[in-house]
Amino acid sequence: MSSRRFKSILKLSILSAIMAFTSNAFADPVRAAFVYIGPTGDHGWTFAHDQGAKYVKEKMGDDVAITTVESVEENADAERVITSLARKNDIIFTTSFGYMNQTVKVAKRYPDVKFEHATGYMLADNVSVYSARFYEGRHVIGKIAGRMTKSNVIGYIASFPIPEVIRGINSAYLAAKSVNPDVQMKIVWVYTWYDPGKEADAANALIAQGADILMQHTDSTAAMSVAEEKGIHAFGQASDMREWGLNAQLTGIIDDWGPYYLDRIQAVKDGTWASSDTFDGVQQGMVKFAPMNNNMPTDVKNEAMKAIIDLSMGAIHPFTGPINKQDGSPWLAEGETPPNFPDLLTMDFYVEGIDSKYPN
């Protein structure tokens, strides 16, 4: 081989080597995994997360490899599932509170893997938490419900008395009351996130007791179906449930996780990921709404749209004083809004006016 030839080959090799070393740290696709608490077919909570995952796949194409695991129980087995995923992925999203301790345990053993825990509160160098201000969504549907109810009874199907659920109840009630001082809320606790039969039973019981509008903090479309069948109204939960409530669904709260997931996975790819604590709402686009049903009167629709716009501009806060707790003690003074911690994140009281006993 001539010396010139040899030199050009050498140059080419060195150039290639440099390029290989300095090119993007993840020339291979980023491997992201999602742990779901229910089936994606719930068309509620898990469905919304899965939509977020699909959004990322759509945007990043071959740059990302996504694994999803459904119906993982919140127990010791979850630790094994998360560990299995940690061995083969770069970032893992655990989408339910009950995975908190397991996520933290596994994160300790896999410091190079990133973990994102939904609705939790434990952080670490490689663990972020994220949640959405669903109570902002409740504010909007609360106003609609207050206006649309004729019997002045709103039925609420609640899952577990955890702060997130309590926030939703309080926010919905305050909003409804603000447009309809006579409104009352009946709350049934089903102690499950997903059980279509039980949710339907609860819906029927609430309707029998006079509710003509339903809200839910459970994951299936059962209540919406019951509402449609009985000819009353309801709101979609976590996703657009219009298919099960053509007439019944006035609107719905939609959890839009896609942009957040894209952001975090892209950060892993770019090497810029850092532990964070996200609590976003309408303003950041994490909480969205299903289209308003045409059978809503225009003035109600406009009022709801205005509330959405106010929220998206950060102009209003669903919890703005004066508000007292259920036992009469003061919580927020005139014009005061609560801090995230401890008021919102550990909320364990009903606001004044709700006449149900606080579950304990």
């Binding site: 119906s71 129980e73 127990n75 299995s84 955890i162 550990t346």
Partner: protein, 356 residues
């Protein structure tokens, strides 16, 4: 025409062969089903992930042990009762109550360290399970109420009680009101015996219990008492064996063991008391016991096999995006074939022409 002639003695050859035959038949059936339903997935690789991979990987192997331990403990207790014809279907409920009782003790002493805490918790777990099972024993002895019904109904009650306890007295005061207990402190956690994994002393306890049970059955009179009572209650009564005592003891033992398993789960892999404590170990243990033909040592093997299908099945779920129900189908079929092949042990199959 096929005739079944009862053998004089169980065929020893078949005791070894039948399980293998059952496994083979299950594998073949599963293969056929999967090939039909899962067109674009390599079925043999599923089998590998399900059966072989957990054995070759030290983490998954450790997890098989973690899952096998509670199954062994509960199944040993259940087998005692089943031999006596006493059907404790509600071991899951006793497991939960034992878990609550033991955890409560650990939580009560959350700011105290001491080597005596864990044994105390274990004792509380055993007593809790024992007490809960004795309700069914009492109702059966006094009112002849069938224990299948009572233990089953009480299982639901136990799970609801767990939820109530986690919502109330046992809830973590600094846990943002989520229905979970505090994380257990060091004295309340089971010692790990395999460094780097979740395998704890419950595995040793399980194996010890199974050997103890084996010796007890071989040597002690009550083993024979239970054997006889199960197969012919009236004859047993004539021979002076007390039916009621058998009911009480077998239910209390199986309840106590189930309760201990519950505490082990909370103080072991979970490290706290959560609503996720019930994992159907109480029901799966019934299957484990039957697969082992109620033999204490056999239970170690059948529990390991079932645990293997759980861990392997989970990996199949993750790697191939198949639903977790695939494991249940497999376990169900395994049990079907096992029970079917069992007949070869007890009967001889004879072909003969019917008389004209």
């Amino acid at each position: 025409m096929i005739r079944l002639i009862p053998r004089v003695e169980n065929s020893n050859l078949m005791i070894l062969l039948a399980p293998i035959l059952a496994l083979t038949l299950t594998a073949i059936s599963a293969y056929i089903i999967f090939v039909f339903i899962l067109v674009d997935i390599e079925v043999s690789s599923i089998f590998y992930t399900l059966f072989v991979e957990p054995l070759t990987d030290s983490y998954y192997l450790s997890e098989v042990f973690v899952k096998a331990a509670p199954l062994i403990i509960i199944a040993i207790g259940l087998a005692i009762g089943f031999r006596a014809g006493i059907w404790n279907i509600g071991a899951e409920g006793q497991y939960v109550i034992g878990g609550i009782a033991g955890s409560a003790v650990g939580l009560y002493f959350y700011d105290v360290e001491g080597f005596w805490i864990m044994p105390l918790m274990a004792l509380a777990g055993i007593l809790g399970g024992m007490f809960y099972a004795s309700i069914a024993a009492f109702l059966r002895i006094r009112y002849q109420v069938n224990e299948i019904l009572v233990t089953l109904m009480l299982t639901y009650v136990a799970v609801l009680f767990l939820s109530a306890m986690l919502q109330g007295p046992l809830r973590n005061p600094s846990g943002f009101n989520f229905p979970e207990s505090r994380m257990f402190h060091d004295s309340a956690l089971l010692p790990i015996i395999w460094e780097g994994t979740r395998v704890n002393i419950s595995l040793i306890v399980a194996i010890v219990f199974s050997f103890v049970s084996w010796f007890a059955i071989k040597k002690h009179m009550s083993g024979m008492q239970i054997k006889i009572t199960g197969s012919a209650p009236r004859a047993a009564k004539f021979a002076g064996f007390d039916d009621n005592k058998t009911v009480l003891y077998s239910l209390m033992i199986s309840g106590g063991l189930a309760g201990l398993a519950g505490l082990f789960e909370a103080a072991g892999p979970a490290g706290q008391l959560t609503p996720g404590l019930p994992q159907f170990y109480g029901f799966t243990a019934i299957i484990v016991a039957f697969l082992a033909r109620l033999h204490p040592i056999g239970i170690i093997f059948s529990a390991s096999l079932i645990a293997l299908t759980y861990v392997g099945g989970e990996n199949v779920q993750i790697d191939y995006n198949l639903p977790s129900s695939i494991t249940q189908i497999f376990q169900g079929m395994l049990l079907f074939y096992f029970l079917a092949c069992d007949i070869l042990i007890k009967y001889k199959i004879v072909l003969f022409k019917p008389n004209r």
